[in-house]
């Protein structure tokens, strides 16, 4: 266990470093001189020097590399070009908003998806199971930028239950988090259904039945525990889609998260913010998978 922990942690930090360097040096892809584009036409040499200093472009390649790593250690991502604020101050509240959205989405999909799968499997009717699986497969394939308009059309315009966009009131989180949750929800329901169906003929179930447990109890205690392992892996894998879906979802619902800040900064050519936003979204994904790996080991008695 210890050896595994050390190895995984080193791996994790190496990955963080490479993701950071990649997102940092993407700025070099900018064709021509990025500073000229930033400063605009008729720029003064003072502006150019200032922007160059902000981006750290006046140094040599290795000098930039050194500053970049130093900034990562100090957790300092520089200043925003347009707003003049430190990038940390802008990103922090946005990250919190995004996490609220993502966590709500994950909770919704776990609380609905897994019971849905178990209940459908309990019906024992092949037609129902097939229909549910087909519908789930279709919803999984729908990207968030299509799901969101459909949900707005139904819940905000036809039924007039929920606000179209914005962040005021508790109800405004419902539509964006539902947009994010639906894919994961259907994925989890589908997977729960498949696993539960596979386990039906298992000796564990026969034993539990012969002890006199009701079928509902077997499903929600024994089977749920057995399928928690693949479900944790699935959640980890699907979180990537959820996080990248959050970028577009935040844009549509004008939710002030990292995704919205990322896209806004791209349109304003505010590179320090773009770099930091890309880095933080990727790091969230990496960190969650790093944590899930340990949860997985805790859950699986064969590894423990």
């Amino acid at each position: 266990m210890n050896n595994f922990f050390v190895k995984k942690t080193i791996h994790f930090f190496l990955l963080v470093l490479s993701v950071y360097l990649l997102s940092f040096f993407l700025v070099r892809l900018i064709p021509g001189d990025p500073v000229d584009i930033l400063a605009g036409i008729g720029n003064s040499s003072v502006d150019v020097a200032l922007i160059k200093q902000q981006l750290g472009l006046e140094q040599s390649f290795f000098g930039q590399l050194k500053t970049a790593i130093k900034n990562l250690v100090l957790f300092d991502f520089g200043l925003s070009i347009h707003q003049g604020l430190s990038v940390n101050d802008i990103i922090k509240p946005a990250l919190l908003n995004t996490y609220t959205l993502a966590v709500t989405a994950v909770i919704i999909s776990i609380l609905i998806g897994i019971p849905l799968g178990l209940f459908v499997s309990l019906t024992n009717k092949n037609e129902i199971i097939n229909i549910v699986k087909k519908i789930c497969n279709i919803i999984i394939a729908i990207p968030s930028f299509i799901l969101a308009p459909i949900l707005i059309l139904v819940f905000s315009m036809q039924l007039n239950w929920l606000p179209v966009s914005g962040m005021d009131g508790h109800l405004s989180i419902v539509l964006p988090s539902l947009t994010l949750a639906l894919g994961l929800l259907c994925y989890l329901a589908n997977m729960t259904l498949d696993c539960a169906n596979d386990l039906k003929e298992n000796a564990i179930i026969t034993t539990a039945r012969s002890k006199g447990l009701s079928i509902e109890k077997i499903y929600f205690i024994h089977i749920l525990r057995l399928i928690s392992l693949p479900l944790v892996t699935a959640i980890g894998m699907q979180l990537g889609g959820l996080l990248s879906g959050a970028i577009i979802t935040e844009m549509i619902f004008s939710w002030d998260g990292v995704g919205k800040i990322l896209i806004d900064s791209i349109h304003q050519r505010d590179y320090p913010i773009t770099q930091a936003a890309i880095f933080f979204i990727a790091i969230t994904f990496v960190a969650i998978n790093f944590i899930l790996e340990f949860i997985y080991r805790k859950l699986d008695p064969r590894i423990r």
Partner: protein
Amino acid sequence: MIQMMKISLFFPAIFLILVVLNFSFNWDPYLMNFELILETPQWNAPFGYDDFGRDIFIRLINGFVSSFQIVILATLITFTFGTFLGCLAGFYGGYLDRFLLSVITIIQAFPGILLVIAVAAFLETSFLSILFALTVSSWIGFARIARSQTLSLKEADFVKAAVSMGSGKLRIIKKHIFPNILNAIFVELNFTIANLIIAEAGLSFLGLGVSAPFPSWGSMLRDSVDYLLVAPHYAVIVSFCIISMILSFNAIGAGLLNNENK
């Protein structure tokens, strides 16, 4: 499953026919009728008119052409590059394999279309830069499949026989390994196309893809969302087209996978 696959081929086929019709009749996607702005579907225009009074049906066909040029080109490049690299890494092993694995791990750290957005963010929007952004993030699917398949094929008797007869490594990859992994690659091909459609539409939806007057499905969807209240038919039609195209390629991939596992 096979039936699903045949039905799925139907939708892309219809669009291909429409594209041919479009080029033979020279339908104009930029023709604006200002008295017909956001009109609902009617006999002249089966899908209605958009916010500039342009025929949605014709713009959808033209959007299909521009989106699919990028998607098909990106698929071809990633297919060639990813498969080749995956085969090499799987067959040679050692440092090359480790290097490829770490590159894949780093690219996978960027969830979904984040890397596409990241690369597109720092490039000026043009056909080539979108192609580059899509290619960078999607070749790893092919590389992973090719690598794992090559690893298992390496132990097969016919490959060992070829090695003992003294064929060169590249020749073995070309003559013995590549034809045998092609099935698995074709399955991956369809899923990649579906993902690239999503990524390309997502990019143009965010305003980072094909630029303004030029039709593309993603930017049409973004425009339609602005008019959701007054002209819901616009958003519904565009979403329907994107969803059906994604589902079609997913179903073709699933059908091939099913066929292969049988």
